[in-house]
Symmetry: C2
Subunit: 222 residues, 2 copies
Amino acid sequence: MRDAYHDDLDALTQSLIDMTHLVGGAVGRATQALLDADLALAEQVISGDKTIDSLYHSGEAQAFELLARQQPVAVDLRRVVASLRMLSDLERSGDLAVHVAELARRRYPASAIPAELQSTILEMGQMAQRITAKAGSVIASQDLDLAGEIERDDDVMDSLHKQLFRALLEDEWTGSIEEAVDITLCSRYFERLADHSVSVARRIVYLVTGQHRDREPLPTAL
Amino acid sequence: MRDAYHDDLDALTQSLIDMTHLVGGAVGRATQALLDADLALAEQVISGDKTIDSLYHSGEAQAFELLARQQPVAVDLRRVVASLRMLSDLERSGDLAVHVAELARRRYPASAIPAELQSTILEMGQMAQRITAKAGSVIASQDLDLAGEIERDDDVMDSLHKQLFRALLEDEWTGSIEEAVDITLCSRYFERLADHSVSVARRIVYLVTGQHRDREPLPTAL
């Protein structure tokens, strides 16, 4: 009985890790779709979110069954409750990747991102993809050093977010209002993606140490 | 024993309702601070978020204790799991009200919202406040008609969100890039506030009917 129980817990953890892989891939493709104005790739991200949502629903059902049948206590219960929260973070991360892809689709055949900002947006997209992958590794390894790295990556993301806004507000910037709106939203989506990985990392830190890192407020956007 | 248990469940529900009151008030004040460039009011929203966060943490502890000590099953377990998710939605709603207040503070002593868009922003802010209050009523009453109303309110919010973007993109609009950035973010915050109330309402619908309304995707932003 005890073994089946830990198998179930491990299966739930594996669902979370699978979600980080799918989300990371979606973020990478959405970024590419945005920069290259690649409609097919954007559509792929949008339709692929169904798989992330179904992992979310099945993960929640797994957690519910665990609570109902096994009635875990102490650290095991903490693990299930933390998993419920991480499922939400990752489901929402999938939605944010979809929002990036929708920006690409809405502006097709143009690219939503003007040439002078493509490198910053690429950097943000890559960081969002990498930080999501690291969140998966932290779930798998419970590595606290890596969790700390996610906090530092998030600081870099916040700097990129601010840098982008500064570029928009410079006198030399000659783009349109439409571009400014799209870039603002896009930057916000990437910044939120990083926040969700931070939230996942903090849940794991709490599981391992009993210390609530998320009592510290997340750095606010802009 | 059974009575103490239901008292605990009711206390958890009350925490959720208290959170909707605090969030609704914060949204109303943040909107006012934004429109009137009222720095003191903005600061009040920002510092007041501590109370919402502490209700979130104590609510999560209540839920955890319930699971650990009472080991609920079936509908009671569903209620606790739903409460965990609703706690997250409301905590995040508090953060969004803070973001609106931060916009007001950042642009003080100017108002971040130009005169021609003040009425639309007011309408969005009032809608966000009202839909949060309705989410509280749905938690308290489990009224499915009211839950349906929240879905329709969210459609109105999405229309307002789109209307604001259209206004920004019209040729006649002569505002600055900075204003466009602020309005984009502000509109996004209000739209997300409504989404979180929809998420709360759908959790209650699921509790009452066993039907998963949230398998339908939320209307996408913009």
